[in-house]
Symmetry: D2
Subunit: 343 residues, 4 copies
């Protein structure tokens, strides 16, 4: 095989908002990808530096200079852009990139909800591009592979929603659980809080400690309800409590539902529904976040407890919860096997 | 003040099962106690060693030799014994110690449940001393101070139960929550698993990971239900899920209940019920386990979430969840202020 | 004992710069002190808040409001002030406090060095009060108890210096080691970096990682050399390398020296020199920082390795390395036993 | 490309001693390898279980059953065996495997030293196969690629030695440092201690703590001296102090040497010597173990400090320190690019 030719055929990926943890995780995964490569990285904060100065783990592994955001340049250099900007800032950049002719995977929440009112209520800001909502499909490759294949832009799912939607959606779809009595108790590693300087996520504040936050008011709650509704065909109303856990990565969601079906039937339903999904693993053991750390896999199981069932899922919030899902989406968008570069 | 006299008046404490973490935490707290001192320590495994070899943090701080268990000697040397043996092994030793004339605070589960059947069902062994059940009061000083005052033996509460009973009991007592719909999702530090060599609690197994265990089958569940019933006067049926969290110490319990009373009324109820309790802090913020680490304090708060209320409590599993509660019990038993040596 | 009278006699302590970790640790220790109490706390950043909002671990334990710095008020309310301001900012405040008639324990580096040039060379700023250098004794109670007793202001030692000076000074004093060949390889917990928001000390930057920093250029190096010289009577030139270690607290210093005396003679020298020092523990085992966490103790030992000796010391950087030493200094200043409130 | 054919051509790897962390890391890396695959796994302790039960992170990713060690079967099924047995137990198995016709990469120390006396002195046991010493080349692909290419068995380097030999060997080779004055202060994550149940490596013993161990007596010291001698052509005598650090993975070595060449000359020497080595990165920043976690890369730099130079290297002890090096050796043995599957 001639390396030159191989390289010419690789999908060229640009990273917008290259300073943060999901950007770094995307780059880490793409370095292992046989058919894609990172060719550009932008960041207002770090423009002018080598990418390996922003992320020292890339030293000698990727020779890319961080630049200011330049839509025209990106559209010319890239086949697809991973847009890792925060919500509110992301939508307009995404629009410009698409109009410029490149495809986009958007990591923000700007296109995840199916109506503007819900967005504005939970995010407390006007939607920057309300007319676009609905034109972008919020996508998990496990459910919307067809839509992704032809899409110019996909809204990458949120981390907590991924850990909750994958177990819940098939059970709502097949009417196996009560849609009105769902409690999601989630525990996330600290990387979910991002890489900006805040006292609350200093080492000495979060180490050796666990705490709940945003009880009943976290923005991922409407995202969970919305997508389970769209997939399962029935409205649900969940109660979602996130917790900050002293670890870098991982989300464990412990989900309490009511069901007349026992745990075995739930496991069978999942095995059936996800028979063709590489990354969804229905397991018998109680999963730990360590079991999926650094991978795009989900492990999930169920247990009986009186009239309730306890569903437990583990993902890596940076991988399957963000950058791994993005690479998986990229694979589907470009007609590759969904697990290319992700095994 | 003459030191000699002062020393003579100190309560003499013996530690049985001195190798483990609750033993060490008890000793740590008693070193700070103005009116008590550790005079003896026994351990089958470590007999013959200086205590500071078993626990290097005691070097130069406590000059006690670990011995084999000798009931007669202990009863002669000690005013009270902290019995830190595992369940099943503890009951008989406790009995012998009382018959020998010393008082005992028992850390095991052997005397915590109010009937033998429940014990044998959940612990899977015959109760070693079934006739004694009922003669020992399971005690939390917040509820049974009178009984403790005159008791020869008190059954120290379990760690998870402490974090759940304190918020729940007053609400059951005053009929403010539905006793049939209670979900307790608890997250504990690793010290709760003890100090014996097991692969499952090696550093590299539990670090950077969170997992649920014993879903619907943990032995602290009947303990919670039993004591809330005894205090609140109504039967409850909780669903309890413990999680192993990557930190040394701390339990955070996130408790989901149904109530027609809003969070403010719950906070008021607690403030009223615990007005005289030094260690129970009803707070407005969402507590983190770090806020109570190393102390005997409980922090608890409540939040509204639709028809549910989310109660969140934080304790140190080794302190308020075990050794701190033991010292608090010791204080009440010997007529001292409940917070002596614990502030 | 009448509580009113007892309270009147307690030493009244004010905390200037109350937001940080050394302030919190000081308060934590003073809460356990039988003869001192915190009566005031100032912070530019947090003025107007209850102290328990700044440090939620104080909820229900200390009812003090944070105020702006008011020298006159502090001098009227306090017998002694713990000044926890950063270097450069501290000297002037210390001067005003002393002129106002209160005593001060200064946590900054402003008065630690014995000449202005060294200060300005290593700190890169003009000394705010050059004439004062020399009038303030830099003090470790193990060496300068006499000076502390009568002092109005004491310069509390730095964390790394404490871990290095305690083992080195007696060996220089008795000419047991080569003063020109000393390597100090120190590993510190993250709390040493303070509580201000910086990317470098975010949880996900420092967790699961160890790194050297400021190799050959850390400001504690001249402090070590200066004080060992003053105590031991001979100039030394050490090479000091600090490391950031993924833990909240603790400093382990591994010190490489050349000596013709074997490890046993070194241990004997220390045992002799520190016979009256409560907190310096010469031990046979290799100490771990966990063995001294939360305490004012130092554990130190020595090992043979060819013509070199390896000295290993463990302290808690927040306790013996800062706030514990401050309370110990307070005890000596006010004529109490050096271990009052610290056992 | 036809997947069937591709699979037939893959190098078939067997794992002996499949329970531990280096086994798991080897499997993790081989799962990403385009031209190798794991086909067998043996373990006395876990024979009869699916490999994914022993390592839950492999669920759904590798369908291999753990068996008892069967030399004949392994030799028939595998092109190469990773032998992850402990020292003492490994040598005989390695010999039988080679005689059976398969190639072996040995993770133990049994073949690492160049003479039997040193082995027996430091390991305290008779060498199980003294006649074989010398017939097996101890190999780091950075130095002995030629020998590896034709070898039937390679002795995979130790973790600490890798972090010390890579910076030291070229400097000894070119006489840039004093061979008699070398101090290696290394800090390792806990996975280096293995996966067997021991109190000393329980989470609560090692978390939030750092400690030195085996000062002047660790078995990797003669391995460092021996290999630097063999590569550099001059005898050295290092002083090596390992430390247990609260993290899963990583070794940071801070190495103190004397040199008349400044840090820049050292960096240049390394850049020159390792110009063709994919994984050795000479960097300007001070490396952190996190920068290389999960990768086969080494980052190293140098700093001036008087007449000394401080060399700092970071590796992942499980990857470049063990399993990554093994895959790199496998690549060289089988004529693949040294970085196949490792980027």
């Amino acid at each position: 095989m001639k390396p030159g030719i191989e390289k010419m055929n690789k999908i060229r990926v640009g990273i917008v908002g290259a300073t943060g943890y999901t950007a770094l995780e995307s780059i880490r995964l793409l370095l292992q990808h046989p058919q894609a490569k990172v060719v550009a990285a932008t960041s207002r904060k770090d423009a002018g530096k080598p990418l390996s100065e922003v992320h020292p783990s890339l030293s000698g592994r990727l020779d890319v200079q961080v630049t200011e955001l330049n839509i025209k340049q990106l559209c010319s250099d890239c086949d697809v852009v991973f847009c890792c900007l925060p919500h509110g800032a992301s939508a307009k950049t995404v629009k410009e990139l698409i109009e410029g002719g490149t495809r986009v995977i958007d990591f923000s929440a700007d296109f995840r909800l199916s109506n503007v009112e819900t967005y504005e209520q939970w995010y407390g800001v006007e939607h920057p591009l309300p007319e676009s909502i609905g034109s972008v499909v919020y996508v998990m490759p496990e459910f919307f592979a067809e839509e992704i294949r032809g899409a110019d832009v996909v809204a990458n799912p949120g981390c907590y929603p991924t850990s909750a939607i994958l177990p819940l959606a098939p059970l709502i779809e097949s009417s196996m659980i009560d849609p009105t009595d769902i409690i999601i108790d989630s525990k996330s590693g600290v990387s979910g809080a991002g890489r900006s300087a805040k006292v609350a996520t200093l080492y000495c504040e979060t180490n050796e400690s666990i705490a709940a936050y945003a009880v009943g008011s976290h923005r991922h709650q409407p995202e969970i309800d919305d997508l389970v509704h769209r997939i399962g065909g029935r409205e649900i109303q969940s109660l979602f409590t996130p917790h900050l856990t002293p670890m870098d990565r991982g989300i464990l969601s412990t989900i309490y539902v009511r069901s007349e079906h026992d745990a075995t039937e739930i496991l069978n339903r999942w095995r059936d529904r996800y028979a063709d999904s590489t990354f969804v693993q229905t397991v018998d053991h109680l999963p730990a976040t360590k079991h999926v750390a650094g991978t795009n896999y989900v492990q999930m199981t169920a247990r009986n407890a009186g009239s309730r069932r306890v569903l437990v899922t583990a993902i890596d919030n940076l991988a399957k919860g963000a950058s791994g899902a993005a690479v998986q989406n990229l694979n589907v968008m470009f007609g590759l096997p969904e697990n290319a570069g992700l095994i």
